[in-house]
Symmetry: C2
């Protein structure tokens, strides 16, 4: 086994240039889903790349951008099937003037490669392919069946993925799933994330007048901003608790296993206090309360606007006011149900005139921390990185994890070449070459050891 590990390392090192060339070609395609650019080119490139590795690959239509599906084919043994979830779309590169090198030309500097998508998510995909090559070279073949689901709408909230997975349950059937992102924390400890929160994103709109009015009439003419402020104020208490009746009905909170895992997690409390200049966190959260609060759903005003926001004074009664709000949801909360409850709540509070428009919704899902696949991934991470893995039962952000858990029933883990300096979604997105090698090695070990199970 020690020999095989050295061989893995040597193979990954010797074939690094090949992987970076794959990555250079893939990142050269500006597949920005929010602009609809480069979508077909990127999908075809990924299909060809996986076909080149011996996969049976195809570009499959969805209600939106196509999915690349690939299958290594049945193995002769009874080993489990592993599904890799990735995406070929990227965030826009703008603002372009903040890039130190062209965003769609892979550039190497100081041990990192720079390009839009190099970390999120094209480097992750290329790392998995590099791991498959290494395993084939070292073990003489792929010891288990591997499938790829590479979508093209992750950066625009995966609107077509739920229906695609539900409609293709048999095709996508697998025993475990490796999620699209993964890597190390600021201390270099490998992180295994088990779940993401869901979301309900809404816009509030209220109009009290057909046109703005002079505020000398404020004793009679109704003000849209006041109306909105009063409506919003009924939605959340000062301690962060959401006041919509039934909002917490489905909320179960962390399990004992989740609590045990979180007790062993490093905390971002000190970093966030410093980085964001926070005097007091929401509801006074600190220490374990700070960590476990991720299991509390939130109502966040993402934006609000009405009337005069420029310099100095203008005496106007705003006719119209708007606000955007994202509710981050925890497992078992249903955004459609909560949207209906929100509407009912506003009606009951006397705000039938406040329009609520749903702009998006996804459900949360988590993998149980005691799942054997989680334990295997974490153990291998600790061995590869030489540091104990951090298992994070739930992160605050949102991703399309629900259809994988609900329709395919796979446990989900994260691993890969990400690190805190990646600047995903920002200018000068990058990937550490050292992190690429470690993440690829970790993936290769998982393929070998999970494949050895039967």
């Amino acid at each position: 086994m020690a020999d095989m590990l050295s061989e893995l390392d040597r193979y990954i090192e010797e074939h690094l240039a090949e992987s970076l060339e794959d990555l250079r070609r893939l990142t050269a395609i500006p597949s920005v889903s929010s602009k609809g650019e480069g979508i077909a080119d990127a999908a075809n490139f990924v299909r060809d790349l996986l076909e080149g590795e011996g996969f049976e690959a195809k570009v499959m239509p969805t209600d939106g951008n196509p999915v690349v599906y690939a299958d290594s084919g049945e193995r002769g043994n009874a080993s489990p099937t592993l599904l890799c979830y990735n995406h070929y779309d990227v965030q826009p590169a703008e603002p372009l003037d903040l890039w130190d090198s062209p965003p769609f030309e892979l550039t190497e500097r100081d041990g990192r490669v720079y390009a839009r998508g190099v970390s999120d998510d094209k480097g992750q995909l290329i790392s998995r392919i590099a791991a498959i090559r290494a395993v084939r070279a070292v073990a003489g073949g792929l010891p288990q069946r591997v499938k790829f689901l590479v979508e093209g709408e992750e950066e625009v909230s995966s609107p077509s993925l739920d229906a695609f997975i539900e409609a293709n349950r048999d095709l996508l059937a697998a025993d475990a799933c490796v999620w699209e992102f993964g890597g190390v924390d600021p201390d270099g400890r490998p992180e295994v994330v088990l779940g993401l929160r869901g979301i309900l994103y809404v816009e509030y709109r209220v109009r009290t007048l057909s046109r703005d009015a002079h505020s000398g009439s404020a004793h009679n003419l109704p003000n849209a901003a006041w109306r909105l402020v009063r409506a919003l104020n009924t939605i959340q208490a000062a301690d962060g608790r959401v006041l919509i009746p039934g909002f917490y009905d489905a909320v179960k909170g962390p399990t004992d296993t989740d609590l045990q895992l979180m007790a062993g997690m490093p905390s971002s409390e000190a970093f966030n206090r410093e980085h964001f200049g926070v005097k007091e966190f929401v509801n006074g959260h600190t220490e374990m309360d700070y960590i476990t609060a991720v299991f509390e759903p939130t109502a966040n005003i993402a934006g609000i606007g009405a009337g005069w926001q420029g310099q100095g004074s203008k005496t106007v009664i705003p006719a119209y006011a708007m606000a955007k709000m994202d509710f981050r949801l925890v497992p078992d909360q249903d955004p459609d149900d909560l949207f209906a409850r929100l509407r009912k709540h506003l009606d009951e509070q006397g705000f039938s005139d406040v329009e609520v428009v749903k702009l998006g919704g996804e459900r949360s899902a988590v993998t149980p921390g005691d799942d054997p696949f989680v334990q295997l991934t974490a153990r291998l991470a600790s061995e590869v990185y030489g540091k104990p893995a951090v298992i994070d039962p739930l992160v605050g952000g949102t991703g399309p994890v629900y259809p994988f858990r609900a329709y395919l029933g796979t446990p989900i883990v994260t691993l890969g070449p990400g690190d805190p300096l990646s600047n995903a979604h920002s200018p000068n997105e990058s990937m550490s070459i050292e992190a690429f090698k470690l993440g690829t090695h970790h993936m290769a070990r998982l393929l070998l050891e999970y494949g050895a199970q039967s």
Copy 2:
């Protein structure tokens, strides 16, 4: 007397071209106070104009734009002194593309003259000068002492006027004052306004983070928009009542005379319901409640802004939020006192972190409806216009009426050539030539009859 009235009419008619030429020259000076343009030119022009009428006139410095002061000199008799308050500054002409003729070239169309300031307030000033000329021609001289105070900052809230009047009480001493605006309502009835509300204008600023954050951390990172919404919500109840302790201490409400006058006033209720598409007025005001509500001070959100206000969804925790608020004040409320109370209220409610910046403050003042000068002005208005005058004890807007009442003790009335089609502050500002003649006649009658008193 009937002869003299016909002579007044004839003189005003025959010398109309002369007055319009004065107006043409004055409106050609783009004296936009908010831009600091044309100030000295306009002040000098007004001084020269009044000197040409035999007044002793001078341009006097203030902390801001200069004031033109003029005095007709002592009369031989004991008749009262009349003070005319006007202003030579104007609003910006923008947006220029909405004007049908150049804003600083007086243009006549269909019985109206068009130019920036033609109604607010240069036409008013020229009308008063035309009235003085008519009286001199018809009565053989000015039967009373007349003073002019023509300021240059009315369109930017008269920041220097209070101190100027307080410092020049003796110079400005008078028995009555004719206010800068005045005219007829939509039914052609002459309006005599006796008071304006005060104002306290503030900006709220709250910062909870040193930079915007991803809303996946909303369970821990404090949201500036939520903070502001909660703070604002403590300031006003849903029925419009302001919740700051002591806010109503000085409020006395309308007098019996005010109530009698308001009972005889036409209401803008139907017009505003239609023009602004209002379903329900603040606190359900209707009929007399709608009219008397002007005696209730208000807290108006003039603007609010934080986070993402563009298209679609963005998941951000706003680090910073702001709002603008104008409190319209009634007689005896002191903006400085209320500003201190507002700060104290926010502190007591736990919002010491919400900064409040004062952007402006003026006190309200009213003239008693039973003042003989008011009664005289209204009686003459009814005779000149052939319709009963409307006496309005308090209008919703704000103007620098307080120093006139407090330091000079003069009753104040409105009269002049304004009408509802004037588009003051808007493109295509205009003045009706017929209204000019009637307003000038009314002013001339007031000079004659008030001057005859002793």
